[in-house]
């Protein structure tokens, strides 16, 4: 068995994330790999191009920590709450340092990943025309549809240097079972040059092979496998723990000033060694509150003659 991929988050980040990289920490609201973001902050990576459809709290934290040079995104808000204050401070006031932006629509950015994953030269799409966004982003272009002569919007492929994808369960080789909101998990993994898989649990290969339709990422796409329970908190992992909506609302207050944000990072990121230590700090009442009621799917029969 190829167990050389199994490593700690510390080693995975140290081995695969370099200064100046374009990184994609995947997950649309669901399974956002916060533990990876925190490790990147602790290892003081800098000049990163942070790519995500929804930068979410994780990139807000990485921007406050000074890791980012550029952000590629399509929705820079705190979902259901309001602004991402650290991102806005960087953009509007240059605090802690200025940030460049490259902005798309959700279809545009997820389309870029799809094109990157499938090595398309570009992807045509029915959007962007008439919007003021394309004039601000030279990567969004139009071509003439060779069949009808109509103007069509196109986006280029995106191939990040490294993607981090959190999943529910994986085997030691990096075959991954994912369920719930699958977001851009598969596209990010197939598009990236290096892929760090983080998972709630490591399971035997036979568990994966018992349900192959649920394997969105196979082992030959994965470069590192990290067993990191609760990696996604304060986002969530379907069936393992719910979204910490309370924290998402608190983030708005925590980030009122750069100093208050840094105080949080000092305590919860720099002040802990790894995710296990972070979880030890989290109150047990909070943890218990986030445990979901079970809702199992009906089993399916994969049998053959």
């Amino acid at each position: 068995m190829d167990s050389t991929k199994l490593m700690t988050m510390k080693d995975a980040v140290s081995k695969f994330v370099k200064d100046g990289d374009a990184v994609y920490l995947a997950g649309f609201t669901h399974m956002i790999p916060f533990a990876a973001g925190h490790e990147i902050i602790r290892q003081k990576r800098k000049d990163l191009t942070l790519c995500r459809a929804t930068p979410d709290i994780i990139y807000d934290q990485m921007i406050a920590a000074g890791c980012a040079k550029r952000m590629m995104f399509s929705y820079a808000g705190n979902p259901g709450v309001g602004s991402l204050r650290c991102f806005r401070r960087a953009l509007e006031k240059g605090v802690p340092k200025p940030i460049e932006i490259e902005e798309y629509t959700h279809f545009g950015l997820s389309g870029r990943l799809f094109a990157g994953a499938t090595k398309m030269p570009f992807l045509p799409m029915r959007t962007n025309l008439g919007s003021d966004l394309p004039p601000e982003n030279p990567m969004m272009k139009t071509i003439k549809n060779p069949y009808t002569g109509e103007e069509v919007s196109i986006v280029p492929p995106l191939n990040p240097d490294v993607a981090v994808v959190h999943v529910q369960r994986a085997d030691a080789k990096g075959n991954c079972h994912i369920w719930g909101i699958t977001g851009e998990q598969k596209d990010a993994a197939f598009a990236a040059k290096k892929v760090i898989i983080s998972c709630e649990e490591i399971v035997d290969e036979s568990v994966i092979r018992s349900d192959p339709n649920r394997t969105l990422i196979p082992d030959f796409v994965s470069h590192a496998v990290v067993c990191e329970p609760w990696c996604a908190h304060p986002s969530y992992t379907q069936g393992y723990y719910d979204r910490d909506n309370e924290f998402y609302m608190q983030w708005d207050d925590i980030t009122k000033e750069h100093e208050t944000t840094m105080k949080y990072l000092d305590e919860w990121v720099y002040g802990v060694e790894d995710r296990a230590a972070y979880m030890k700090k989290l109150s047990s009442e909070k943890v218990l509150k986030l445990l979901p009621k079970a809702a199992y799917s009906a089993p399916v029969n994969y049998g053959s003659v």
Binding site: S74, G77, F87, E151, W179, G180, T182, G183
Partner: protein, 253 residues
Amino acid sequence: MTDVSPSELMVIVAARELKDGESVLVGVGIPNLAANLAKKLQAPGLNMVYESGAVGSNPSRMPLSIGDPCLVTGAKSVCSMYEQFAYYLQGGRIDVGFLGGAQIDKYGNINSTIIGNYKTPKVRLPGSGGACDIASNVKKIIVITPHEKRRFVEKVDFKTSPGFMDGKESWKKLGLQGGGPYAVVTNLGTMKFDEVTGEMTLVSLHPGATVEVIKENTPWDLKISPKLENTPPPTEREISTLRALDPDNIYLG
């Protein structure tokens, strides 16, 4: 009539626009309440689709975000983000899309990107998300927004999502497959768009509102429909059903 807040009134009126059997692309907050309210009342077969890829959701509680786990539990289907935009939205399978924004103009162009200049913004807003994609592809766009002068502007600072551009003729030239803006529901009235020119026109006055107050809160000379109606007041059933959906007043507060 029980007293309703401006937010409650907007949600109730907007919910009435949704028909049974339609597919609606739902955003967080107020639109999510409107869709869930319609589903509990006149549209039990409403198909709620979320940008996050959840299709036919049946949430047991109000989701805080469009990626909330309760949208997955008991849903009809879940697909990837790219598939949602490609198969469902661009595939032409969505009837209604709710959009919000900081500014809207008389042709229904919407700004959710910046106040001021793009390169040096006074206020940076979240940006398009799926809004521009939704505006380009759904049959009807419904906007729910408080009726305030800073939101209704002659010309938006930034066109995040195209409405009827500078009028219906310029919109037609874009060749979008969507139907464009359909209704704007505020706390004061409902506006729809002129069939020929694409200009926003007041079609219904909400209880307590007057044309004068609406004109005062709209910085351009708003067109008034010759067939101006009075919006039927919220019923007790609409009010109690809505309040049960948001018992902690997360969205209606």
